[in-house]
């Protein structure tokens, strides 16, 4: 066991370095286990592996023995902006890839109690546009990195009902870069456009709980809640460069910001047959928590002033359906779909985080390599609705197109 844990630590250290993206609507990530992902994320009523820690802690009591699950999702997005409207010029986001990891450990005490700890990335965001692009005064780069540490306990009252509860500690960092417009040029006609780089570590806390019921034979019902987390910077710092003669007015220095990770609740119903199971879920995302991101400087000058990135998000939802089919003792096939409604109003849909309603098409496979070792793999194709903005608050109208491919893998060891 020591060996597995050591690997886990190394793996996490590497993976966390590259965490960031936004592949649920807004800046939320919903990929926290290859098995769940390959079934469209419909898992709250069947959270019967160690990833229950994320999906529904009540499910932990039905996971037997000692379990370790390690994996992650490789996210390969592709985003273009065509505009500014009515222009037809296409701007392509820099090619980026992300690998948010997940790691779960659980132990069942065989008296109804189970306990576990999970590490995963429920929120993250990464956009990276060319330095000279048409929207450089809005954003060139934003990077929200986070991972949550989530100790969890659960208790099952027989086979009929179980409950689970967890504590959520989120830590990570926030980075933002953009150019600032000024009316000025130097004597040789080069425009003065100071570049700002802001970066800081951040953290926040929250909690989660879940319930799972088996009211009749073959049917299970799940409900799971994760609270909002206020993710606050602790040691943010801003530096300006390329400010020319304005450098004296842009000293930078300490800066603070905070943004909410929205609350979520999931409700689902599942049917389990002899060698298959299917499930349908509804997920509510409390995006109305994100009104604006305030950037507050410690030092102010005529030019260095606090600013805010307005979001005015709305609460939104995701509908999920999926199932799995056990071919034999070794092989399980899985498929699922989901529809993810985006929370961002047209006026604030900006290249900071271009968003749109998206459709997730999922497939995957589970392989029991030995009695103790299993591998789950998932593939997701995630097309976004083409979104044309004509009422941008940034004077930045145009059309966004995004598709993403997500490849997930998890290794489970059970004893």
């Amino acid at each position: 066991m020591a060996c597995v844990n050591k690997k886990a630590v190394t793996f996490l250290a590497i993976a966390i370095m590259s965490v960031s993206t936004a592949f649920g609507s807004g800046y939320q990530l919903n990929e926290h286990g290859a098995r769940a992902v390959s079934m469209g994320g419909a898992f709250v009523a069947r959270a019967w592996d160690a990833s229950a820690i994320y999906f529904n802690p009540a499910g932990l009591s039905y996971v037997q023995g000692f379990n370790v699950m390690l994996g992650g999702t490789l996210i390969l997005p592709n985003t273009t902006f065509t505009g500014p409207y009515p222009n037809n010029t296409e701007w392509k986001m820099n090619s980026i890839s992300f690998f948010p990891p997940n790691a779960y450990v659980s132990y069942n005490f065989n008296n109804g109690f189970a306990a576990g700890i999970g590490v995963f990335t429920p929120d993250g965001l990464g956009t990276d546009w060319p330095q000279n692009w048409v929207g450089r005064f809005i954003i060139t780069k934003i990077n929200l990195q986070s991972f949550n540490i989530n100790p969890t306990v659960s208790y099952a009252f027989g086979d009929f009902i179980s409950i689970g509860v967890g504590f959520d500690y989120a830590l990570g960092s926030v980075l933002l870069e953009k150019y600032n417009p000024t009316p000025f040029s130097d004597a040789t006609g080069n425009p003065i456009t100071p570049f700002i780089h802001m970066q800081g570590d951040a953290n926040g806390t929250g909690y989660n709980f879940g319930i799972m019921l088996k009211p009749i034979k073959n049917v299970s019902v799940g409900f799971s809640y994760r609270s909002k987390i206020d993710f606050k910077t602790t040691n943010g710092n801003a530096t300006f460069s390329q400010a020319g003669v304005l450098a004296g007015l842009l000293p930078g220095g300490a800066v603070s910001t905070s943004l909410p990770f929205p609350e979520n609740w999931y409700a689902g119903i599942a049917y389990k047959g002899e060698n298959y199971s299917v499930e349908a879920d509804f997920q509510h995302v409390g995006w109305s928590a994100y009104r604006q991101l305030n950037i507050t400087f410690a030092n102010h000058t005529t030019l260095q002033q606090n600013s805010s990135i307005i979001g005015d998000y709305s609460d939104t939802y995701i509908i999920r359906a999926g199932g799995e089919y056990n071919l034999d003792k070794m092989w399980t096939l899985r498929a699922g779909v989901f529809y993810d409604k985006n929370p961002i109003p047209d006026a604030y849909d900006a290249p900071i985080l271009p968003d749109a309603d998206r459709l997730g098409l999922n497939a995957g496979v589970g392989v029991n390599l030995t009695n103790h070792l299993a591998v789950d793999a998932s593939y997701m194709f995630l097309p976004f609705k083409q979104r044309t903005i004509t009422t941008s608050a940034y004077g930045f109208n145009g059309t966004y197109n995004t598709t993403a491919n997500l490849i997930g893998i998890d290794l489970s060891y059970r004893l």
């Binding site: 065509t82 505009g83 500014p84 409207y85 009515p86 222009n87 037809n88 010029t89 048409v134 929207g135 450089r136 005064f137 809005i138 953009k178 417009p181 000024t182 009316p183 000025f184 040029s185 130097d186 004597a187 040789t188 006609g189 080069n190 425009p191 003065i192 456009t193 020319g244 003669v245 304005l246 004296g248 007015l249 060698n275 298959y276 000058t301 005529t302 030019l303 199932g323 089919y325 498929a335 779909v337 309603d357 459709l359 098409l361 097309p383 976004f384 609705k385 083409q386 044309t388 608050a393 940034y394 004077g395 930045f396 145009g398 059309t399 197109n401």
Partner: protein
């Protein structure tokens, strides 16, 4: 059992495929807008006629790095025109380019009046951009000597620089027609009223004491010009731009007509009434009689040129530490004079609209009057840049307070492009303003604090003179 289950799986698979196919309409990438097109306009030879605004004059001078972003150059670039020659003048240009020396003391200075020299004066044909700083409507058909206009009373070197030789055409219109244009933009007439307005109503189109070009003369001259252009280029398309409202331009709107505390930049309030204290100015009463008295803060415009005098205490009542001497008439466009200006602008714009309306398939109208009024009210947010009509900080007008910056000219170009697109079924891309450099020159000295900008009269004087009075 087995076959039933595979049927279920197959049914699920078919359902999934059907769902994907049904969703494809929304999710597949389609062409976003119509491809660029010039519609019924042939852009093979584009010629622009006009004054300093057409030339790309900026912050008191005509210079290459500003001319590169003149609105005709913008239109040409967006429409895919490859041959668009301008009378480029090396930086810092001719006219005395204004620049910010320091944001703390006296802030604005200027480069030498003849700091630059023409770069392609050997071009063996007329320029495509025939915008001549200081030109009035009358000049468009005037065949008198270009060189003579460089001497008194006009002292305007730009006719000679832009038009060069009568052999290329004896007037701006003649040179335009010599190029056999397929498309012509015309934005002329602003100086017919701006000379009067920027001199506080003291120097009109016929010299001191006269007013703006009268509307009847303007209408006749404009029709004459357009008849000549249409007759000379019968297959060409045209776009005409109208004349902006001076009340939308920072030269007229920056300096308040009340006493301002230089330290706080807030109006000084009368301790008895709690109201701001009006400046003492020379102004006209409703019947046009000049007298010295308090300004009407709601309706009088104090010009940018007044800053020197105000600093010396002129126009400021003795009760608040001024000299009590009235601000001279040349620094005030009072409500009576503004009435004369407005009437002229309305009349000119009616004449321009009437010509456009009588040739709707041939002529488009760029309604700059309306666009700049709206801009003055709301500003314009473009790709994260917030342009407003505020002096210096607004980013749209240069240091002379009259002429746009490169980004301001891009805004103007987009008004033209949108009018062309609408009238001629074209789809010319607009200029993304974030791709146009900001252009108010700031001298390379350290800046620690921005205070109220101070503009020396001597820096603005050449611009005022350029806009003024031609005896023809």
């Amino acid at each position: 059992m087995k076959s039933i289950r595979s049927n279920i799986v197959s049914a699920l698979a078919v359902g999934l495929v059907a769902f994907v196919v049904a969703s494809c309409g929304d999710f597949k990438k389609s062409s976003v807008v119509n491809p660029p097109s010039t519609g019924s306009v042939d852009f093979s030879t584009y010629v622009s006629l006009g004054n300093s605004l057409t030339a790309g004059y900026q912050s008191g001078a005509l210079y290459e790095s500003a001319q590169e972003y003149s609105y005709p150059a913008d239109i040409a670039k967006q429409a895919g025109v490859t041959q668009f020659e301008q009378p480029l003048i090396s930086d810092p240009g001719i006219g005395g380019r204004m620049k910010i020396l320091n944001l703390t003391g006296p802030v604005i200075g200027e480069d030498p009046a003849a700091g630059g020299a023409p770069l392609n004066s050997g071009l063996a044909r007329p320029y495509n951009n025939l915008g001549i700083p200081g030109a009035v409507l009358y000049d468009m058909l005037d065949t008198s000597s270009f060189a003579a206009k460089a001497g008194p009373p006009r002292n305007n070197p730009f006719f000679q620089i832009v038009l060069r030789s009568p052999a290329l055409g004896s007037s701006p219109v003649a040179q335009a027609l010599a190029l056999h244009p397929t498309f012509v933009s015309v934005w002329i007439g602003a100086n017919d009223v701006l000379g009067y307005a920027t001199s506080g109503g003291t120097v009109g189109i016929l010299g001191p004491g006269s007013g703006p070009t009268d509307v009847a003369t303007f209408t006749a001259l404009y029709n004459q010009m357009m008849n000549a252009l249409i007759a000379g280029a019968p297959n060409a398309k045209f776009i005409l731009a109208n004349i902006p409202n001076v009340a939308a331009i920072p030269f007229f709107t920056t300096v308040p007509a009340v006493v301002v505390n230089p330290a706080t930049q807030q109006p000084v309030l009368n301790p008895q009434t709690g109201q701001p204290i009006p400046l003492i100015v020379y102004r006209h009463d409703a019947s046009g009689n000049l007298y010295a008295g308090p300004a009407d803060p709601q309706h009088d415009f104090i010009l940018l040129t007044a800053l020197d005098s105000l600093e010396a205490g002129v126009g400021i009542p003795t009760s608040v530490g001024g000299t009590g001497r009235p601000l001279p008439n040349q620094f005030v466009l009072d409500s009576y004079e503004y009435g004369i200006v407005s009437q002229a602008v309305q009349g000119y714009n009616q004449a321009i609209s009437a010509i456009q309306a009588s040739h709707p398939t041939k002529i488009a109208l760029a309604d700059i009057y309306t666009a700049l009024n709206e801009f003055d009210q709301t500003g314009y947010e473009a790709q994260g840049i917030d342009l407003t009509s505020s002096y210096i900080t607004g980013g749209a007008f240069g240091l002379d307070g009259v002429h746009p910056t490169s980004q301001g000219y891009a805004f103007i170009a987009n008004i033209f492009i949108q009018a062309i697109n609408k009238q001629f079924g074209a789809n010319i891309p607009i200029v993304p303003i974030s791709m146009v450099p900001s252009s108010i020159v700031i001298a390379p000295t350290g800046l620690s604090k921005i205070v109220w900008p101070e503009v020396r009269y001597s820096a603005l004087e050449p611009v005022i003179r350029l806009l003024q009075a031609r005896k023809y």
